[in-house]
């Protein structure tokens, strides 16, 4: 993997879509350069022989941490939670039409 990744404008547009980011043309241009450079840097990992190596997803060694199956009281009220949304009505959060 020592060939520097070339990432096309379409690739960047696709990534933006996957990431739910509606970018301006200017942003797409500069991100195309940046992302190409970053991918070029991280590709050096391809040099490492990792045959037979298990991945490390977490480092605590903790497994299956349980808690009691009981209701935990919260001081936060429904009104407070709804107030965090910029648009709410009738105890509901408003969203644009989905269908």
């Amino acid at each position: 993997m020592d060939v520097m990744t070339v990432i096309s404008r379409d690739d960047v547009q696709h990534l933006a879509q996957l990431s739910s980011l509606q970018l301006t043309d200017e942003e797409l241009d500069s991100l195309q350069t940046d992302i190409g450079n970053i991918l070029g840097y991280i590709e050096q990992l391809g040099e490492l022989d990792t045959t037979g190596v298990e991945p490390t997803y977490q480092v605590t060694g903790l497994e299956n941490v349980w808690r009691d199956d009981s209701v935990i009281h919260s001081d936060v009220t429904r009104e407070q939670m709804l107030a965090l949304s910029t648009e709410s009505a009738s105890n509901q959060v408003k969203v644009p039409k989905v269908l």
């Binding site: 739910s20 509606q22 450079n37 840097y41 991280i42 190596v53 991945p55 941490v65 407070q80 965090l84």
Partner: protein, 467 residues
């Protein structure tokens, strides 16, 4: 006011009230405004709490180990009294309905939060220049960066606004700004302090720690904050207890790969001076190799963006945070909200994350990085079979100039090259001041130990503190 113990003693003896301590901190915050270290002050709430604590002290009550001590939290900790912005437009008006466990624990001991410190938006960065509200300036030179992402917290500690400040450290965000501003910075073992109520960045390496002027103060703050929290299932049972009888003759490895030509000669000299101090008090320092060091940054910039892309998916403009206006469809609402609410570095990381997690690239990038991480963890374990502590510079240079690295993200990432490896392995790491450069900029050394050896690192640093 610079040390916690001084303030506590003065309050106990009646020389100082909690209100006077808080007023002095607020005054200092105002007079150092030009550094732009703070995004808000929580003046009304802080004074109210101070009066309440003074009344309780007058009544002879034991208020706690930090009665009346003011502090500042990085603005990604949920706290009452001001919005929690994460230095982003996305959360610019977000009033937290609850407080972070770390903040709650400090308040239970009588500490008083007086303000929220600047950071790179969502803690993405190494200079605090990615703040949506403008950069913080270095405490020693206003043309230099504060470091990051916890730049504001480091600067308020260095400027003596408060005796301690809270930060988060995912790949160096406490240690590197501590180094750039000449203060102590502690990143504990992964899982030491609850992250409940702190804006998430990369969940497999996010940690919470502190900035202080000396080691004893860090020991006290970490002792208070550490421990299991039902609201953060990655927290470890409390293991942290300050050590008063450090095992003499500690075996310390200086990592050869961290002292190469790419590292500023003044930084290398400062590390060598620190090594002489360690030897002078009877510790043993030997050169060791960590050949995986050169790959750590590449692993980090795969694993962390992957986790960032997942953690930041929650910012959709619906339930809280910024919401774009005049949109026709749900997709447009998401897309425009996220474009308006995130800074460029947030977008870069989210998109890199989306890339490395895409089918077709997953094995080559994400999976390869997690396997390489195992090799790094193993390399550390091998070294810790023979050594108690590993030593390196905290950063390859003293603070760089404002604007110097903003055009080149990879160059900016390289400032984290020393701090990222212990983060990936979940190891405790601290940065302690080790002199200044010819230009008067602070230099820090980093001490790293096996998991749960946090107290030993602090005790070791204490054995040469001020020498």
């Amino acid at each position: 006011m610079s040390r916690i113990s001084n303030i506590i003693d003065q309050i106990k003896s009646g020389e100082l009230t909690a209100r006077a301590a808080v007023e002095a901190a607020l005054e200092k915050a105002k007079s150092t405004d030009e550094f732009h270290a703070l995004l808000s002050v929580t003046e009304a709430r802080a004074l109210e709490r101070a009066d309440e604590i003074d009344a309780r002290l007058q009544g002879g009550e034991n208020v706690g180990r930090l009665a009346g001590v003011p502090f500042i939290a990085k603005d990604n900790f949920l706290a009452f009294g001001a919005p929690t912005t994460a230095a982003s437009r996305m959360l610019e008006k977000f009033d937290a309905p609850l407080q972070a466990t770390a903040v709650e624990k400090l308040e239970q001991e009588g500490a008083i939060c007086i303000g929220k410190a600047n950071l790179d938006a969502f803690a993405h960065g190494g200079s605090t220049e990615n703040s949506a509200f403008g950069p913080t300036k270095n405490a020693f030179d206003q043309t230099k960066v504060a470091g990051g992402s916890s730049g504001g917290s480091a600067v308020v500690t260095a400027l003596d606004v408060v005796p301690f400040a809270l930060g988060t450290d995912t790949g160096g965000s406490i240690r590197q700004p501590a180094s750039f501003n000449g203060v102590v910075g502690v990143k504990p073992t992964y899982g030491t302090v609850s992250r409940y109520g702190v804006v998430a960045m990369a969940s497999s390496t996010d940690t919470i720690g502190c900035f202080t002027k000396d080691i004893a103060d860090s020991e006290l703050i970490m002792d208070i904050m550490s421990g299991r929290d039902i609201n953060d299932m990655t927290t470890l049972p409390d293991f942290f207890a300050p050590i008063t009888d450090l095992k003499p003759g500690q075996k310390i490895g200086i990592i050869k790969e961290s002292m190469g030509d790419a590292v500023d000669p003044e930084v290398r000299n400062a590390v060598n001076d620190y090594i002489e101090k360690l030897r002078a008090v009877g510790h043993i320092v030997e050169e060791v190799h960590l050949s995986m060091l050169k790959y750590a940054l590449a692993m980090y910039y795969i694993i962390v963006p992957a986790e960032v892309s997942s953690n930041l998916a929650r910012y959709d403009g619906i339930r809280y945070g910024h919401r774009a206006e005049n949109v026709a469809t749900l997709a447009e609402l998401y897309g425009r909200t996220r474009d308006e609410g995130f800074v460029t570095e947030n977008k870069r990381r989210i998109m890199i994350g989306s890339y490395v997690l895409s089918s077709g690239y997953f094995d080559a990038y994400y999976q390869q990085a997690q396997k390489a991480r195992t090799l790094l963890v193993n390399a550390y374990e091998e070294l810790f079979a023979s050594y108690d502590v590993l030593l390196s510079p905290t950063a390859p240079t003293p603070a760089f100039g404002l604007g110097e690295n903003t055009a080149d993200p990879v160059q900016m990432y390289l400032a984290d090259i020393m701090t990222v490896p212990p983060s990936l392995a979940g190891l405790p790491a601290i940065s302690v001041p080790a002199g200044v450069s010819g230009a008067g900029l602070p230099i820090g050394v980093q001490l790293v130990g096996p998991r749960r050896s946090d107290a030993n690192l602090l005790a070791l640093a204490k054995s040469v503190e001020g020498k």
